[in-house]
């Protein structure tokens, strides 16, 4: 009796494992959903919780360009990701205000090899490359390309 019951049960576990494996591969190599929070990308992405799709293919092929909105793993805390805009690739020179609270002194740096410069659209409230420097390209998780929620804005999001 046990064996007769084990059959379909084991089959269900195998099917579920296969499903998880497919989910992992799709999530890691093709498309993944992300939830955005916080003010750093205002006005492009508003404060309320939003649901977006990111694609991983162009990142893997090295086709990230200036102006793309990307999801980057936080170099200061690997457990979290953040949504930012790429403003410079390796070799580009970037001018920014390094210490906006105290003075207006601008600083210019050249993005080193294998790194990208990311900034939030909301210059006044964003934790980005101006604070922790250029990030290694490998930390770019993917490019934001589709907005899902809020539903009234459902649609492509690649030229924002």
């Amino acid at each position: 009796m046990t064996s007769r019951n084990m059959g379909p049960f084991a089959q269900r576990i195998i099917d579920f494992t296969k499903f998880l494996c497919y989910m992992h591969v799709i999530n890691t190599y093709l498309i993944s959903p992300v939830v955005t929070l916080g003010p750093s990308m205002l006005p492009t992405i508003d404060l309320t919780t939003g649901l977006f799709l990111i694609e991983k293919i162009s990142t893997r092929l090295g086709k990230v360009a200036c102006g793309d909105i990307v999801v980057v793993r936080n170099p200061q805390n690997p457990r979290f990701c953040m949504t930012k805009r790429v403003l410079g690739l390796e070799g580009d020179s970037i001018t920014y205000i390094s210490d906006p609270e105290n003075n207006d002194k601008a600083k210019t740096i050249v993005v080193p090899k294998g790194r990208v410069w990311v900034e939030g659209d909301n210059k006044y409230n964003s934790n980005d490359s101006r604070k922790f420097g250029p990030v290694p390209y490998d930390l770019v998780e993917g490019k934001v390309f589709w907005k899902i929620s809020p539903l009234k804005d459902f649609g492509p999001f690649w030229n924002k």
Binding site: K18, H24, G114
Partner: protein, 173 residues
């Protein structure tokens, strides 16, 4: 009939590939070690004519990526901060908040949060944090636990290095 069986075997092959990728991304994988930067822990005899055949193959576990908890002395696999297509194997010599003094330019720097300091065991020829600085923990792709190949050197990888590292860890107290 033939096209159905063809479709079925294609489905089986794809599923097998997907499972392999998922397991090697999430659980465990085997990677070859190229070059002598981690000698004598890996590839103790580089430069011999049979180098290719006798490259060490090591077992890399991925569970450590769940919470990014590492200890000093762990051997880790990570993406090169200079080139995202390149993978490197080095030993963690310093964790966030620790102070690292390097020999060749008498600098003492504090490792920023979320970063670590990596060095090769073969300090004479190793491209590591001494040249590119501390790396984000998020670049790490797994922890090396065992040597699988060649058979005579099979065994677990020790957490502490066999020789002293060139950098002196400075005690914060």
């Amino acid at each position: 009939m033939g096209s159905i069986s063809l479709w079925n075997s294609a489905k089986k092959i794809i599923t097998a590939a997907v499972i392999t990728v998922a397991v090697s991304d999430r659980i465990v994988t085997v990677v070859p070690v190229r070059g002598g930067s981690m000698s004598p822990t890996f590839n103790p005899k580089t430069g011999s004519w049979m180098e290719e055949t006798f490259d060490d193959h090591v077992l890399v576990e991925k569970f450590c990526l769940g919470n990014y908890k590492f200890s000093r002395g762990d051997v880790v696999v990570f993406r090169s901060p200079l080139n995202h297509k390149e993978t490197m194997i080095k030993r963690i010599a310093g964790l966030p908040g620790e102070w690292i003094g390097t020999e060749h330019n008498n600098d003492v720097i504090q490792i920023p949060s979320g970063h670590c300091w990596v060095e090769g065991d073969n300090t004479a020829s190793s491209m590591d944090s001494k040249s590119f600085g501390p790396i984000p923990l998020a670049l790490i792709r797994g922890r090396v636990t065992h040597i699988l190949w060649p058979p005579q050197r099979r065994g677990s990888v020790k957490r502490t290095p066999q020789q002293g590292l060139s950098s002196n860890q400075l005690d914060p107290n």
